[in-house]
Symmetry: C2
Subunit: 423 residues, 2 copies
């Protein structure tokens, strides 16, 4: 008997028929002798519907009071889901009880719409499990110290599930989703993309932060911090599958680099269209310049990703960096109005038509020349590299958006990701 | 400055436009210097949508565990409403905060779907009021001692509003609805029906229990128990109206029989199509018979209303009574299968095509012959009376359903209810 946390996304919970099918899967696990905690998302479309209503009424200035109410409203989507899933389990004769975040309670910070989980009380959950019940906990939300409802931000249900698994010391956290695992890259871009049987925690962290949208990055961080074994698998397989731990499909995020792991140098290719490039041209090349520019951007709560500084010429240099595409206009305005005049910069340019393509693999630690091979492949395809960023287990390049698919396919082939890995 | 509780029904909260209009009204009251607590219902249609989803998944046997989840699901409708109304107030520059029943907390029994309010903690509400905020509390729901979400049953938001007003010692509880007050009878049946400026608590209690659907009966009981001044008025009048207590329109439910009160003998006419008649024929006329029949019905959790027993003949008698129409088939089956054979009754007949028409007025206490006048009016219209039930301030008759409108109109005219009352 194991203690298993299962998370189901909005598509899996998208209708009463689908909820009934989730219930069947959960009931089979419970009948096989496992203790099961389920963390479902809101029914697909519901969170958007609720936020849409709020947006129609929103004040011009969005205050913390507004975000508090937004969380109050958005949290109801998951509350409906947990109740419906409990009822669907009752209909199968499986005892089950739902708990909202505040009932557990799942304590969070008070940063509305992007709260962080601080502590989970496991007493109520364990009591219900020991009474033979499946426990269904609302994803995406919690309660702050003052008793206000908070939410964790988009994709927060992944984080809820992993955090609950950590608090309970669960044997495994299964993320049931509409894909059947983590792929070497997005199969919609590269049809030859392969599902990985396992991926290391560090690679998954890079994949999630570099644009792979299967798991929310904070849930991966949580899994790492508490060493929760997480498996991503499809909710559209028959419910019998996977109950025996040996048979489980999907992709396991593992902390052990043993023979289970694939031995490819590059494990996966991530990409993102969500960034934009800003260049501040002709700034004096002296200490403190980068801080003056990037500090102002950070103060405006805009995240900066890749940064490069050109070689200096005549005491002047150019600084380029990427920001989320949604923040591009605001960042350029800010720099043009306040920063560039003070620095005597020649110009500030914004370019939304870029993308970031990254190769990820813990094999890069022990293999030299991997980045060079990446640059060669792109060069052979005639793709100009605008920016480069590296870390121990990944190399990212910023290129013209129009070459994104071409680059991803060429790299996937060049690093043999369409071939089964050598053991 | 007064402390005012305002309740808005589902129609008043039916769209974001209407919520914005409720916010305008509430903001005007707050700007006029009043402390305002608002208790809104779910957006119209929402509770039915949520219960419909639950019904699609419901188990064959409806256990308390099922009803617990039903409350968990249904309670979200009001939670969305309070958040949206708070946001609409923010947009008008009016500080406001929403509280779910469990956040107040509003403590109830654990009778899911029909819980009763036991206690309301006013600390959090008063603190927010004193901070200059409008406080918006979810209607229809609370939390039991174990921390489970409960609901109060249909129309429960009226009860929530009156209970909150009682707990806060509010100066008035205003029930904003889609009608502009309590009428002498339903204007859809009698176009000449008049709105009453005031109605005594006892009359309102009878009107509510006899079929007038403007206020939920439990809210009237609550108002009586805690002597909360309740006023029913329309949410479709301009928002400026009614802020000065002297100007308020609608109908006040009063505990003082002073000159404000109308001095009519009969104040209003209530009617209901929701009952059905059962007759148990040819039962031996001996002690305990009524108990054997009605006790069996009560044990099946079926409410019995009007009861009559015929004059005995040859040692046999007939017993007739009314039950809710929805319970008719079940009651007849029960009596035919179990009770009638044991008693040696000749037959059990069920008739769904009846209605109950009632005249209500505290003037009936001091005037004799009011019931007789009612019977004369019905007789002149050729309407046969099947059953009669009286109390100190009302007389009800059960008649053929097809005469209902005719009876209500004739009585409305005969008791001068279409004329302004003499002072």
């Amino acid at each position: 008997m194991a203690l298993i946390v299962q998370k189901y996304g909005g598509t899996s919970m998208g209708s009463t028929e689908r909820i009934a099918s989730v219930a069947q899967r959960v009931a089979k696990w419970a009948r096989a002798g496992h203790q099961v905690v389920v963390v479902p998302s809101a029914m697909s479309g519901e969170t958007n519907r609720l936020l849409g209503l709020a947006k129609e009424l929103a004040p011009a200035k969005l205050t913390p009071d507004y975000y508090r109410e937004l969380d109050m409203i958005a949290a109801t989507g998951e509350q409906v889901s947990v109740g419906l899933l409990a009822i669907a389990l009752h209909a199968l004769g499986q005892p089950a009880v739902s708990l909202a975040g505040w009932q557990v309670p799942i304590r969070t910070t008070d940063a509305y719409t992007k709260a962080r989980i601080e502590q989970i009380d496991d007493g109520k959950v364990r009591a219900a499990l020991n009474a033979g019940k499946v426990v269904i906990i609302t994803g995406f939300q919690g309660v702050d110290a003052a008793g206000n409802v908070t939410t964790l931000g988009r994709g927060g249900s992944d984080t809820s599930a992993v955090a609950v698994a950590a608090a309970l010391g669960a044997d495994e956290c299964l993320i049931f989703t509409d894909v059947d695992g983590i792929y070497t890259t997005d199969p919609r871009v590269v049809p030859e993309a392969r599902r990985m049987g396992a991926i290391s925690f560090e690679e998954m962290l890079e994949m999630a932060s570099l644009g792979s949208k299967v798991l929310q990055i904070r849930s991966v961080e949580f899994a790492g911090k508490y060493r929760v074994p997480v498996r991503v698998l499809s909710s559209f397989t028959p419910p019998d599958i996977d109950i025996d731990i040996e048979d489980r499909s999907g992709t396991l995020i593992t902390f052990e680099e043993d023979e289970q792991m694939e031995h490819a140098v590059v494990s996966g290719i991530a990409f993102s269209r969500d960034e934009a490039k800003i260049s501040v041209l002709g700034v004096p090349d002296k200490p403190g310049i980068a801080y003056q520019i990037l500090g102002a951007v950070a103060d405006a709560n805009i995240e900066v990703d890749v940064i490069i500084q050109n070689v200096s010429k005549d005491g002047k240099t150019d600084l380029s960096f990427t920001v989320p595409q949604a923040d591009l206009a605001r960042a350029v305005d800010l720099l043009k109005e306040k920063v560039a005049p003070a620095l005597g910069a020649a110009d500030v340019l914004g370019d939304p038509r870029i993308c970031k393509v990254s190769i990820v693999g813990i094999g890069m630690r022990s293999h030299v020349g991997v980045a060079a091979q990446m640059f060669r492949v792109l060069s052979e395809e005639g793709i100009n590299i605008q920016m480069i960023s590296t870390s121990e287990i990944k190399t990212s390049v910023v290129i013209d958006e129009k070459y994104m698919e071409l680059a991803v396919r060429a790299l996937h082939r060049a690093f043999d990701l369409d071939q089964p890995p050598s053991a």
